[in-house]
């Protein structure tokens, strides 16, 4: 154990040695532990080799390492900022910056460059771009989170069944995943939406369904490696059934890569939503969506470049924030990097 652990030891167990009556006059090692003559003290002195690092858990440890990763923290702060802005938008955006859906048809009110009144300018229908970017974040974040939640829910179950039971079940599920992955991603999404009909809800259903094979694969491989541990044999030898084995003993140890992958996938889902909306297969006008705003701005790129700048910037920073966060989580949750 490192020096730090020894320091923690003293800080958290100040009475450990003082309470022990046999301590006085005995040899002590550098850290102050008593050195006992093992061969004479049989039968079995209670072990006194207390090592502790202050009760940090796996997650406590991960948070400690995540905190030191500046980029990941920047990503986290940006994500929290976007969420807070989005949640509070009704309170301050609508009254002071305008309704994202309110058109202004007076002459000259549309395609205004950024000004004090419209800090990001107005679009071709005279709507406030700032309000639309803020409300667009709602769509993007919701789609991102719900789509990934659907992928993770399906992927975890499939991956767990596949990795834990193996054999025929494994073959069936993994070949099914291969079939999904064999189709070009966006094309498959468009095909699905063409069947379901383009709408906000169908976008995250489509993205969610398409995401499960990757999650299942990652989870399966994670489970396969966790399964090799002796504590899994020990749990089996204790009499645990399949459900207890999967949910209590394997999943908690195998889920870290999914947290990382899921976080990064949120960024990917946001991009896919933007792409689908850009192509007209996603969120339908007049709902503000970053992808839709880009699509609207494309023909006006020269006349009103700010129209594509702001939603583009919003997509870039938000996706980047999720990826940085996921990257930081991967390092933080990797026990091999334990300091």
């Amino acid at each position: 154990m490192s020096d730090r652990d020894d320091l923690h030891h003293d800080a958290h167990n100040p009475h450990t040695h003082d309470e022990s009556p046999v301590d006085h006059g005995e040899l002590r090692d550098a850290a102050g532990h008593s050195i006992k003559d093992q061969s004479r003290s049989l039968p079995i002195p209670p072990t006194d080799d207390i090592i502790t690092d202050g009760g940090r858990t796996l997650w406590g440890d991960a948070w400690y390492r995540l905190r030191k990763n500046k980029l990941a923290i920047a990503g986290l702060i940006w994500v929290i900022f976007v969420i807070l802005v989005t949640l509070s938008a009704d309170l301050w955006v609508k009254p002071y910056f305008g309704d994202p859906l309110a058109m202004d048809t007076t002459l000259g009110a549309n395609l205004q460059p950024p000004s004090a009144e419209h800090i990001m300018g107005t679009d071709k229908l005279g709507r406030d771009v700032f309000a639309r970017v803020v409300y667009g974040a709602r769509i993007s974040l919701t789609v991102g989170v719900i789509a990934v939640a659907i992928s993770v829910a399906i992927g975890l179950i499939m991956g767990a069944l596949s990795g834990y039971f193996g054999g025929f079940m494994d073959t069936l599920i993994m070949r099914g995943a291969d079939v999904f992955l064999a189709f070009p991603y966006v094309l498959f999404a468009i095909a699905l939406i063409a069947v379901l009909g383009p709408s906000y809800r169908n976008v995250f259903i489509a993205i969610g369904i398409l995401g499960w094979p990757s999650i299942a694969r990652v989870f399966r491989s994670s489970i396969l490696s966790v399964k090799e541990n002796e504590y899994i044999d020990a749990a089996k030898a204790m009499g645990a059934g399949h459900m207890r084995m999967i949910f209590r003993h394997i999943m908690p140890n195998a889920v870290a890569p999914i947290i990382v992958y899921g976080t990064m996938s949120i960024g990917g889902a946001i991009i896919t939503e933007a792409a689908l909306s850009f192509l007209g297969m996603g969120v339908q006008p007049p709902t503000p969506s970053w992808g839709l705003m880009l699509s609207d701005a494309r023909p006006l790129m020269v006349r009103a470049p700010w129209l594509m700048l702001w939603p583009g910037f919003a997509i870039l920073t938000t996706v980047l924030a999720f990826v940085l966060m996921g990257d930081g989580l991967r390092d933080a949750l990797d026990v091999k990097m334990k300091d």
Binding site: P43, T47, D53, G55, D233, A234, G239, A240, P252
Partner: protein
């Protein structure tokens, strides 16, 4: 006293790409309540597979237990049980301790919670009751400040403490049989002695029968009632600890005893290793499996398979020459007890 565990003609074979691995090939033994049986042999002699077969932990995909084999626990066939029946015995009536305490505790759960798990599972205890009982058990195996340490995570325990925790876990349901698969191999010598003392003391208190699997004869000398020596998946000698250590019959056992360092032998005594390597379990040598390494091998050993035959009362050997009273060795006890 009725027999607790009867193993009849146990054959556990693994079907691999290279051929059939006869990991255990016709093993018979009885275990009486409260007694200790030591299973001794080199790596790959089938010791662990015997234990895993009793626990029904042999992977179904590759491992096959012979149809004429049987394992009777209190007269009931373990091999004939359904999954639920096996689970009700695992951890409850027959418990197991694994070799490496560093990896046999689940890293995401507090130690106390893990010890209590089998009580919740088998005895229907509430979480709180199980936690309280776990503290008592930790105290019983000599963990100081058990109440606080029960709340620790496994990585906060040292190797010796983890093995104590594993023993506490195994003894939680007061099992009839404790199978210890090399429980001290991964520990340093002073801790080894403590763990063995602990097991002996707990056996006296609880009356649990122990199957002690080890390659270290010094470990078993102090605690075994009966000793079974295994070689290439077969029993080659079986008898009381006294018989096997003081009047060994099989040349392989002689080799094992002579290769053991002892404190009571004068400095000119040299260690005599057994030459050669354990045989491949796919192509077991013809005749006596030990003949390529046996210094006493004669022509007949190449062709004739020796059967385990009773030589003296309760002492049997699988060597063609064991019946010859002139074919004997006297050895001193390999006990590691320090006077």
């Amino acid at each position: 006293m009725s027999t607790l565990l009867e193993v009849r003609n146990l054959k556990t074979h693994f079907h691999t790409r290279d051929g059939v691995v006869k990991a255990v090939d016709g093993v018979n033994f009885n275990l009486e309540p409260g007694k200790t049986l030591a299973v001794v042999g080199e790596s790959g002699s089938g010791k662990s597979v015997t234990a895993l077969s009793i626990m029904r932990l042999i992977p179904k995909t590759t491992g096959v237990i012979g149809t004429d084999s049987d394992i009777l626990f209190k007269g009931e066939s373990v091999l004939g049980m359904d999954d639920a029946g096996v689970r009700s015995i695992r951890g409850n009536r027959i418990a197991m301790i694994f070799q490496d305490p560093m990896t046999s505790l689940n890293p995401v759960y507090r130690v106390g919670r893990q010890i209590g798990e089998s009580l919740i599972l088998h005895k229907g205890l509430k979480k709180k009751e199980a936690d309280e009982r776990a503290v008592e058990l930790l105290d019983m195996v000599g963990i100081p400040h058990a109440g606080e340490r029960a709340k620790d995570y496994p990585h906060q325990f040292s190797g010796g403490m983890r093995q104590r925790a594993m023993i506490a876990m195994a003894l939680a349901c007061d099992p009839d049989i404790l199978i210890a698969d090399e429980p001290t191999t991964a520990l340093d010598v002073t801790i080894q002695a403590q763990i063995l003392e602990l097991m002996i003391e707990l056996q006296e208190r609880t009356g649990t029968a122990i199957i002690m699997i080890t390659h270290d004869l010094g470990v078993v000398a102090d605690m075994a009632n009966e000793v079974m020596v295994m070689y290439a998946g077969k029993q080659i000698e079986y008898g009381t600890a006294e018989d096997v250590f003081y009047r060994p019959l099989h040349p392989y056992t002689w080799g094992l005893l002579e290769s053991l360092p002892r404190h009571d032998v004068s400095e000119k005594g040299i260690l005599l290793p057994i030459t050669g390597q354990p045989p491949s379990l796919i192509n077991v040598p013809s005749g006596c499996a030990f003949h390529p390494r046996c210094p006493y091998a004669k022509d007949v050993c190449h062709t004739q398979v020796p059967q385990l035959t009773s030589i003296e009362d309760g002492h049997s050997s699988a060597c063609l020459f064991s019946g010859d009273p002139g074919f004997r060795r006297e050895t001193a006890s390999p006990s590691r007890e320090v006077v």
